[in-house]
Amino acid sequence: MKDTTEKPVLLTMRDIHIDGRSEETWSPIIKGVDLTLRKGEVLGLIGESGAGKSTLGLAAMGFTRDGCRISGGMIDFDGIDLRKASETERRALRGKRIAYVAQSAAASFNPAHKLIDQYSEAPVQHGIMSRAEAERDAVELYRRMRLPHPEEIGFRYPHQVSGGQLQRAMTAMAMSCRPDLIVFDEPTTALDVTTQIEVLAAIRDIVAQFDTAAIYITHDLAVVAQMADRIKVLLRGDEVEEADTRTMLSAPKEDYTKSLWAVRSYARPVQPPVTEGIPVVSVETVTAGYGAADILKNISFDIHKRRTVAVVGESGSGKSTAARVITGLLPPRQGRVLFDGAPLPADYRQRSRDQLRQAQMIYQMADTALNPKLRLRELIGRPAQMYLGLQGKALTERIRDLLRLIELEPDTYIDRLPSELSGGQKQRIGIARALAAEPKFIICDEVTSALDQLVAEGILKLLDRLQSEFDLAYMFITHDLATVRSIADEVVVMQNGRVVEQGPKPEMFQPPHDPYTELLLSSVPEMDPDWLTRLLKEREKKAGKG
């Protein structure tokens, strides 16, 4: 952390009001927030989804998304009133003096152009450098961002570069005009934990090198703790509080902030491992894949009644493929899946209706998992109607029961469409739909990763309660070790289609670890502002030794 209080003020935002249009009315998104940023300072903006972090970050550039408008307040960037300035004047600032790094680099790089062309665009168009200079500069910055092959990587198209590298290339691109301010909008959220470390480190270094001021937007407290000098907490368009990072972490004033801090502490009591009895689901030496490639290589694990097995791994590790094998969407090349000790037909189309009923699935994205055109009555009622043959009043009663189970008031919600629900409510509907079939086993595929922490915690608690109530067995697919900590009984760690380690949770979180598990565990950011610095030093040391 650096002390920036002596530096001149770069950006001042006073009493900012921003409205968003939904249907025909304008409703406030930001309700009078102030913000001050000095040169070279990093401000962390934190809050849950809907808090207005991105909107505020963009407003710092004098920019609003379509369907939004700045309805009040003052934005002063280095003496320029961004609200009074013409669009042409604002445009001259963007990219040149204020740059932006978006959440998903993969989506924010134009797929039609090479990286270096996109790098050069801002400096060339703003008349700072010639094209040749910009290309030389790009290589230099790629090197500073520790990108592999900095001379060549710029000549690739975005799809040819991995996510972590893209995110670094995007930060480099934001730096191309050496701006005074960069707005980072959740730059590492879409990345795996192990990749996240490198990107965080690279961003931190380059911001420091060029003494660039930054607004760092994230929902992840541990991340912001590593990056920011000061932290501002937002809740539904209002500022909750603001303080320097260490103060904020150690002594939050407001209850809301405290509750945010507290989320990480939820953990249910671990149940003893089951050693006997027939597992509900048993995956036996399964090898499976698409085309010629094997995605899963000879994996085995069991899931018992009333137990939660967490399958952990980074993207591409094969954990979702394992779920597809179990559900029968992807028949394995070798091995089989047993249910209550009896082998299941490999293809779901060959399974009986009862076999289908017994194993249910909850998806990561409730938005795509719920048919947007069906009302909750049908979404939840359909499995009950199909599998249990419920009709008329009995069906309605069952739907209302299920809604109560997931803590939604039946009268209010039964005839709503998914689009009329919040993210957490949608996920609850996904759970209710699975429960409606009265299954023995539920696959939860990253069910909390798209949710805010408070909401996610609610979902985890609900799942926990339902498990004891209905004796359910869970297979919990996740990349988030915090989730594993809170809910798992057993852990299966996967990498490149293989199980690298498995066992009861307490053992898994105790050394000695498999090296990959070690890497995973150590990469989870901690609330300590010095964590990143320390970790990098340790890794350097190890690498030096090795």
Binding site: R65, D66, A107, P111, H113, E121, Y157, H159
Partner: protein, 317 residues
């Protein structure tokens, strides 16, 4: 790149299959049409013997499948035979008309494609403004008038005042500039007919991308709206635009019989209609296959171009 060659080879194979099936379909359809060429030429006066003689000479007495196979055998060897009605080799009959048809199609395309792309881009840039809505309404009005009617209006305005000829009579001796002048009105008619579709598609394809994060990124890099559209949206919108351009090109080649009639332009459409009326089967087949081949090839070209316009498909990881 090899993936493209595989695709081209596969698609050409499928295209040949398509042509084959179409030749069967067209043959079947002409068989179903009442009357045959012998009866058509002989008229009611013919005695059964003369009809038989005529049919024997033209080979119409053979069973349908034999006639078809004979035709197919010739066609596979590149010999499409001679017109039954006037004994002219079909290749001769078609050559100049195909040239005319292609010329008019390219002429109309040369006007309409740049025009519609430009209008589409401008409409996307100034979306929901008066310009956008006016261009849209005008374009829609122009496609909702029947082609021949558009042609008549153009003749009334541009030909009766003596600016352009109302007939597009061209022959191989006509000079290029003169041909351009004489075929201006049909080309303009076709332009009015196809521009709206391409313009709307261009506009829609571009607008469809405007919510993309990389467009927002470009705007946040301080790029002008024009550059955002041209440099960032357009390259990614090419695939649907190319497809719709190909469809319209195919229409310009295969669907313009009405314009040919009004402007007395000797193209393939009129030949096809005449030959259907006379039941001149080999000519019908040849023209139908040219039309189908044009469609297949244009679609293939569109797909290849769409692939080439997408770096994700040509530069694999």
């Amino acid at each position: 790149m090899s993936a493209i060659w595989t695709m081209i080879a596969k698609r050409l194979g499928l295209g040949l299959l398509t042509l084959f099936v179409i030749s069967v379909l067209i043959f079947g359809a002409t068989e179903l049409l009442p009357g045959d060429l012998a009866k058509n030429i002989l008229g009611q006066s013919a005695t059964p013997e003369t009809v038989a003689a005529f049919r024997r000479e033209l080979g119409l007495d053979l069973p349908a499948h034999t006639r078809y196979l004979n035709w197919l055998l010739g066609a596979v060897q590149g010999d499409f035979g001679t017109s039954l009605a006037n004994k002219r080799p079909i290749a001769d009959l078609i050559a100049t008309r195909l040239g005319n048809t292609l010329f008019l199609a390219l002429y109309a395309a040369a006007i309409s494609i740049p025009l519609s792309l430009m209008l589409g881009v401008l409409a996307a840039l100034y979306r929901n403004t008066i310009f956008d809505r006016t261009a849209n309404a005008l374009a829609l009005s122009s496609i909702s008038f029947p082609e021949f009617f558009v042609a008549y209006i153009l003749i009334f305005i541009l030909a009766q005042s003596g600016l352009f000829p109302s007939m597009s009579r061209v022959d191989p001796d006509t000079g290029f500039a003169e041909t351009l002048y004489r075929t201006f009105l049909p080309a303009l008619t076709l332009t009015l007919v196809v521009t709206a579709h391409m313009m709307r598609m261009t506009r829609a394809a571009i607008i469809n991308l405007l919510a993309s994060p990389y467009i927002e990124m470009a705007r946040l890099k301080g790029m002008t709206p024009m550059r955002v559209i041209l440099h960032h949206a357009l390259p990614n919108a090419l695939a649907p635009i190319i497809t719709v351009v190909a469809l319209n090109l195919a229409y310009l080649i295969t669907g313009v019989v009405v314009v040919e009639v009004v402007f007395v332009y000797p193209g393939l459409g009129q030949l096809m209609v005449d030959s259907v009326a006379k039941r001149d089967f080999p000519v019908v087949q040849a023209v139908a296959l040219i039309f189908a081949a044009a469609y297949v090839l244009l679609n293939l070209t569109a797909d290849v171009l769409s692939t080439l316009s997408n770096p994700r498909l040509i530069h694999r990881k």
